[in-house]
């Protein structure tokens, strides 16, 4: 069974459209984790046809993803799709990625904006933010990837059981990559389309990720 996991925080404007889009593509098991939103994110998602889990208080995207992963493991998921709530991904990219996962018997397929040129990436991001991000990611995780912090992922059940996100915030992205490497999971990258509505995390967000990561290393 394929489950789509969507962490959502105050996305009432987008979440309905995202869920309906996924249903149109034939994905019936959609789990939205309403991460303590103060708007109608949960309601919109339920009306659109998703199962909605509620975090009583906001815990961050990483925390919400792990809650979704725990839930679908209990529900007997064989494949998990991590998807964003803001509508920046295209549901059409899921099927080829799952096909790749199953044909090559991989554990993880990671979305990448750079393997084809469908995504219109802002200039500064493409030539300054991402190269720096890639380099830092490589130092932190030891895996060389064409993209950083892309929320599009396909995970096998084995990967779901192996990966455990402890980074509540945005550093979960690097954490997942580090665990892929550490647990020797087989992975590949797959081109995905990313729509740019807003700029995203910016450099401050990137610094926060780095801080979270260093802190986590110190705690262990």
């Amino acid at each position: 069974m394929i489950f789509v996991v969507i962490p959502a925080y105050n996305e009432e404007k987008n979440i309905g459209r995202v869920v309906r889009g996924l249903i149109q593509y034939g994905y019936a098991n959609i789990v939205v984790i309403d991460d303590g939103s103060c708007d109608k994110t949960g309601e919109e998602a339920r009306i659109a046809g998703a199962v909605v889990l509620h975090h009583t208080i906001n815990r961050g995207q990483g925390a919400a993803l792990q809650t979704g992963d725990d839930y679908i493991l209990l529900r007997g998921a064989s494949v998990a799709v991590h998807f964003d709530a803001d509508g920046q991904f295209d549901a059409a990219d899921i099927a080829p990625a799952i096909k790749l996962l199953q044909e090559k018997q991989l554990d993880v397929v990671l979305g990448s904006r750079f393997l084809d040129n469908r995504s219109r990436i802002p200039f500064f991001k493409k030539f300054v933010v991402f190269p720096v991000g890639r380099l830092i990611n490589f130092f932190l995780t030891g895996l060389k990837l064409s993209d950083v912090h892309n929320g599009f992922r396909i995970l096998s059940r084995h990967a779901l059981e192996q990966i455990h996100i402890t980074q509540d915030g945005m550093a979960h992205n690097s954490e997942i990559i580090a665990q892929i490497k550490k647990k020797n999971l087989k992975f590949a990258e797959q081109p995905v389309l990313v729509y740019y509505y807003e700029y995203g995390q910016g450099i401050g967000g990137g610094l926060k990720i780095l801080r979270d990561w260093i802190l986590a290393k110190l705690i262990k």
Binding site: L53, H55, T56, R59, Q66, T67, D70, Y71, L74
Partner: protein, 110 residues
């Protein structure tokens, strides 16, 4: 005695009292009580006789006793802030675990 000395000693005495009350209320354990009592009593000694730090400062190659105090205080503060940051992070993780458990429990009851 200088006015600043009197003010500081009065302040430290109040803090010592407060520490004892906190211990009685059960907010501090034995070890913490002793650590803080020694800490504040030492602070009082330094205030009463600032020259007492001069000897140690000289041994360490620091010119003035007051400088030694500032350095030690800074280092202590950094250590404490670091400890607090780590503690907060752990607390955050525990809160997430609780939130997740609560979410999944609610889902099972449905």
């Amino acid at each position: 005695m200088l006015a600043i000395q009197l003010i500081l000693i009065a302040l430290f005495a109040l803090i010592v009292l407060k520490t004892v009350f906190r211990f009685r209320a059960g907010d501090l354990n034995w070890k913490e009580l002793i650590f803080w009592l020694i800490f504040w009593l030492a602070a009082m000694v330094i205030v009463i006789s600032p020259d007492s730090t001069f000897y140690l400062a000289n041994k360490l190659g620091i010119g003035r006793g007051a400088d030694l105090i500032v350095y030690v205080a800074l280092v202590l503060l950094f250590i404490m802030v670091f400890g607090l940051t780590v503690k907060l992070e752990k607390m955050n993780r525990d809160i997430t675990k609780l939130t997740r458990k609560n979410t999944l429990n609610n889902e099972e009851k449905k």
